[in-house]
Symmetry: C2
Subunit: 254 residues, 2 copies
DNA sequence: AAAATACAATGTGTATACAGATTTTTGAGT
DNA sequence: ACTCAAAAATCTGTATACACATTGTATTTT
């Protein structure tokens, strides 16, 4: 890379919406960035329940910032589809529509099969190392038995596959999709505490890593398909068994 | 859809970043929305060249709005990866990095094959009608011989496939990717006026529509692959033949 | 008593003022 | 003449004030 670099991106997925944002080197974070990070955490962890109204003035009092950086954060969160803005009528946490879960899972399947396949085709030592580290961290996270921690660690593992796929555009889209699904996953975890065997998951992750390491793209794709298919089944069961009343009780602040 | 609708989205691609934005019914558009739409138009049409510095105060004078709605627009554009924000050092139009074109095209190929395949599997009369209309509009656009118009119409056709795929998450991602590529396409169109035969393109579009209509997913996928492969070849030729000096001359305002 | 309308309260949208950061200019020292 | 430093200018980041839209309420009218 770099010889013919005239400029930078067609659709650069970094820089803006990806992760903690422009932390850069040290500590100096703008207020807007802080608010954005904070709210995003709370939304993804369901501390802020879907559909919760987000009042600008209330936040400005609670958080000690003026409305300006809060509006800024809300706009960015809306671009991430984590918040819905209604013109002149405020913002609310993006609702979870169980009707659309099938579409979400369908797209996610496509993305994950592709990232895993490409990761196997391009296997880089750095990425393999990261995958193993993330799987170890996942194992540790499972010990805690805290859904929040487990789901986050699982996301981190799957995101490592994205990074390994060698295409940052697909990686960014897949990563975003996964984040959205994690919110659902966390919800399912809480509702039905259908304890899935974490040993199985860790082992499946391990197999995927090996398939990627050996460059066996077909196998890697098949494994991630099976792996996430189990997840899809759990999600479908969850959706089928969830009523409106049940759902509205979930995710209250406390 | 609709029976179990508790809420709305995991990662709803509408609402926020998609198109003209919340126009809703009538005319009332917020200033921020106007600025966003305007700047996006100018960036996508290369009126605002890649890497152009975007000064908030300058825009506020030129456009007659205060800095607030302009900042709002810039933040949204940054989330769309059309603008790059440097903390405390302003905004600029997202650069085009020719080094990353291969990655962009790779992701786009995946997305378009999937959308076309799924469109063929789900063929709805409404969507087929839209496809034909868009291809007719594309034919009309070709008459104008204005690259801007042709490229836009071509985008609209391919976006109709996205809408027909029945998965709004994939559709949104593919649509976004296509938009980014159109900027490249327009650039290539200007540089090397390698006039591709518009009749061929229209005919290829027609074949794709028929494959979708007949529900032949494999054929549809193959056709869109070939179709966009020609495009990829043109892009690669363009990238190979473009030097920094050439590029920096392109897209100046005037 | 019900419906409609005017009014008050609340909250978003925008403008402006101020504070902090960055870059440029200017001036002293070598 | 060149270098470095200090100050000014410029621009971003944030706070605040005001204008407008929406919503709920109370009063009036039928």
């Amino acid at each position: 890379m770099g010889s013919k670099t005239i400029a930078k991106a067609v659709n650069d997925p970094d820089e803006t919406g990806s992760d903690d944002g422009a932390l850069g080197d040290g500590v100096r974070q703008s207020s807007g960035q802080k608010v954005y990070t904070l709210l995003r955490e709370q939304i993804l962890s369901l501390e802020l329940a879907p559909n919760t109204e987000l009042d600008e003035v209330q936040f400005s009092r609670e958080l000690g910032f003026s409305r300006t950086p809060i509006r800024e954060a809300l706009i960015r969160l809306a671009s991430d589809s984590l918040v819905v803005l209604a013109p002149n009528r405020g913002a609310r946490v993006a609702p979870l529509d169980l009707d659309q879960v099938p579409q979400v899972l369908e797209a996610l399947e496509l993305y994950e099969r592709a990232t895993t396949r490409w990761a196997a085709l391009r296997r880089q030592p750095v990425h393999l190392a990261l995958l193993e580290q993330r799987n170890r961290e996942f194992a540790v996270a499972c010990e805690t038995e805290d859904p929040r921690v487990i789901v986050e660690a699982n996301w981190a593992f799957h995101d490592a596959i994205n990074q390994a796929c060698g295409n940052k555009y697909l990686a960014a889209d897949c990563s975003k999709m996964l984040r959205g699904v994690m919110r659902l996953s966390l919800l399912a975890f809480r509702q039905s505490d259908a304890q899935l065997s974490s040993y199985d998951v860790i082992e499946q992750h391990r197999e995927m890593i090996e398939a990627i390491r050996s460059g066996n793209a077909d196998l890697a794709e098949e494994l991630v398909y099976q792996h996430s298919d189990e997840f899809r089944d759990r999600m479908k069961t969850f959706v089928a068994g969830t009523s409106t009343a049940d759902f509205s009780l979930v995710g209250r602040r406390g």
